[in-house]
């Protein structure tokens, strides 16, 4: 039988294979894996249909997130890209700010790089719990605004936010430094047990601080510095 594709028998592709093809394919693969991981976290967390901020709940969510991310292979840039995938709602139709932020925090805490920069200024929504439990030796710079519980349970890491943060910034932190260039919200430093919070502009309200230091526009306003 006559082969209708005979004319292409001798076809030799002239297109070069560029590293770009592999790089972008790998990146897509990583995004798919991160998305799948987030899906697993949400599936776990939403068994009770409502997600609310409660200390043990957050710990459980973080534990689940850690389990999910530990087997993933990604880099710091992928975390930023993943934040925008979350924000776009294209591949992930539901962005639940709490679990999403915890998931991103887990990604930051377990990525190989020590220095992480996330340019989140163009996101339509802010994420909560960014910088949660950031360990000693890691620095996280966020360009843009963040949601609530930024840097909560900080464990020695260095967080810089070039925009504003929401409520409960630095809640429960034990050591480390949080620098916020603009405003922060209420209950700043709630249950803070050590470390420093530097706020460039207004603080809407302070929390119950056990230990540690909070600075506003370079002036200490609470904690050991006033003793």
């Amino acid at each position: 039988m006559f082969n209708p594709f005979e004319d292409f028998k001798e076809f030799l592709s002239k297109a070069r294979t560029l590293p770009l093809d592999r790089l972008s394919a790998d990146h897509d693969q990583i995004m798919a894996e991160l998305t799948s991981g987030y899906g697993k976290l949400v599936e776990q967390e939403l068994k009770s249909l409502v997600w609310f901020v409660e200390h043990n709940r957050v710990i459980e969510a973080y534990k689940t997130a850690t389990e999910v991310v530990k087997d993933l292979s990604y880099d710091a840039h992928s975390i930023e890209d993943f934040c925008y995938v979350l924000d776009s709602g294209v591949d992930i139709p539901y962005l639940i700010s709490g679990p999403a932020g915890i998931y991103v925090a887990a990604l930051c805490n377990h990525v190989a790089e020590e220095k992480i920069v996330l340019r989140l200024g163009e996101m339509k929504r802010t994420l909560h719990f960014l910088g949660y439990r950031l360990p000693y030796g890691k620095s996280l710079r966020i360009e843009g605004d963040t949601g609530n519980f930024t840097g909560s349970a900080l464990q020695g890491g260095d967080i810089t936010v070039t925009g504003a943060t929401g409520d409960w910034t630095g809640a429960g932190m034990t050591e480390g430094k949080i620098s916020i260039h603009k405003n922060c919200g209420r209950n700043t430093g709630e249950w803070m047990q050590g470390g420093e919070i530097w706020v460039g502009s207004r603080i809407r309200g302070l929390g119950r601080i056990t230990s540690g230091q909070i600075y506003q526009a370079g002036e200490a306003i609470t904690g050991d510095a006033l003793l």
Binding site: N3, P4, F5, E6, D7, F8, K9, F11, S13, A15
Partner: protein, 443 residues
């Protein structure tokens, strides 16, 4: 080389007509050269033995272009060409178009056919074909398709022929050319207004028609055509007159022409030009969009395209009918002829894109929505050709983006067809689906 000599001759004919006989603006660029589309496609039709539909406003040289090209390319005095033209009006009969009984012999009880000039000569011009009844349109197109004409159980064969049909735009008192008949034309071109300067020039050069006249040879040819001789004798008589006319042109106008043997060789050269893989793949991609329907298996004019189909971005969504098999034949023939004419060694995408709009314009039936969206576009072409050109360009854009992918898909399909256990290359375009169907893999 002989190849070059023939091409040079045809080029000289083109240049001569353009500079002395048919004045019009260039409106088509191929390979860096500018051409007038009407003249170019008329010439290519005459070279390839095709069928061209020439449209335009009354008095803008629709028939003129065909007469000059036919006269020079086939070495026939233009007076003979005029005499063989068929006019489009409802009273045309088979007897006036094809042939009639020899009345003298008929009264003696013998049937013998007197063939018309239209049928005997290779250049066939029908003026205002849309004014002929459908039966007569069909009769002419049937005859040109097969190259033979029948009347009263007698048959005459044409060894070479080409058809030029002119049509005014739709107006009161005209029939339409129905779709199946339109489809049999290879190309449609518009003979445009030449602009005020060229238009004025035409009025100053009224003697131009005399350049191609030769009363003595016309009379000789008339006699030869009237004679009751065998086809071979008649052919050789016509050839002799044609040769004499050719010699006359060479002597008086320094214009070389082609005889029958040369024209045959030209056609062989044209047919032997190969298509580049890009041109080939592009044509397949175009055909895929013109015939595909995800919902109904293929495009059909009695089936409506569904909203919400995945392929609404492709041409199939904007068409009501399916492309016929004549379209790729026209595309291929004319692209090769154009490549030959412009000294290209192969047929590339450029040639395909150049001839595509003219091959597609009269065959595509666009949806009302598509027509109304684009009818107000700024354009130089009549709407049908403009729409076809837009379609060709749009498919070219898609091809440009994924050329290697498409060719790889076709190459892989070749290997699968040969029996290799490979997966067909996937993609969004209808061509990939059609390849799967060809490989009998479509569910």
């Amino acid at each position: 080389m002989e190849n070059g000599k023939y091409r040079h001759t045809v080029r000289e004919i083109y240049d001569f007509i353009q500079s002395r006989l048919y004045f019009n603006r260039p409106d088509l660029q191929v390979g860096g050269e500018q051409f007038n589309s009407t003249l170019l496609f008329t010439l290519l039709t005459a070279l390839t033995g095709g069928k061209a539909l020439i449209i335009g406003e009354p008095g803008l040289g629709k028939t003129t272009a065909a007469e000059y090209v036919g006269s020079l390319l086939y070495q026939l005095p233009v007076g003979t060409v005029w005499a063989s033209e068929v006019g489009g009006h409802p009273e045309q009969t088979e007897e006036k178009i094809i042939g009639r009984p020899d009345l003298g012999k008929l009264n003696q009880g013998q049937e013998e056919v007197v063939w018309s000039h239209f049928v005997q000569l290779p250049v066939k011009i029908v003026d205002e074909i849309n004014r002929l009844p459908e039966t007569k349109q069909s009769m002419i197109l049937d005859g040109v398709d097969r190259g033979n004409w029948e009347y009263l159980n007698e048959m005459i064969l044409n060894s070479e022929y080409c058809l030029f049909a002119t049509a005014n735009y739709q107006d009161q008192g005209t029939n339409t050319i129905i779709a199946p008949l339109l489809d049999r034309f290879d190309v449609m071109v518009e003979s445009r207004h030449p602009g005020p300067s060229y238009g004025f020039l035409i009025s100053q050069r009224q003697e131009k028609e005399e350049l191609l006249r030769h009363p003595d040879l016309e009379r000789e040819l008339q006699d030869a055509l009237k004679k009751r001789s065998t086809p071979e004798e008649k052919d050789s008589q016509i050839a002799a007159v044609a040769e004499a006319f050719g010699a006359h042109l060479e002597e008086s106008l320094q214009l070389p022409t082609l005889d029958h043997t040369s024209r045959t060789k030209v056609r062989e050269q044209i047919a032997s030009i190969a298509l580049e893989q890009d041109a080939n793949a592009y044509a397949r991609m175009l055909l895929a969009e013109l015939s595909f329907c995800d919902r109904h298996g293929q495009k059909r004019s009695n089936e409506v395209c569904e909203e919400g189909c995945h392929y609404t971005g492709y041409l199939c969504h904007r068409l009501r009918n399916c492309a016929s098999n004549r379209l790729p034949v026209s595309l291929s023939n004319y692209a090769k002829a154009l490549a030959w004419f412009t000294e290209a060694s192969t047929v590339g995408i450029e040639e395909m894109r150049a001839v595509g709009p003219y091959c597609l314009a009269h065959r595509a039936q666009w949806t009302d929505t598509h027509l109304s969206l684009l009818q107000k576009d700024r354009r130089n072409d009549p709407l049908q050709i403009h729409l076809a050109r837009e379609a060709i360009n749009e498919v070219f854009q898609r091809y440009s983006e994924q050329a290697e992918h498409v060719k790889e898909a076709l190459a892989t399909a070749y290997r699968i067809f040969q029996g290799e256990a490979l997966e067909p290359v996937a993609g969004d375009h209808p061509i990939y689906v059609e390849i799967r169907k060809d490989l009998n893999l479509e569910e």
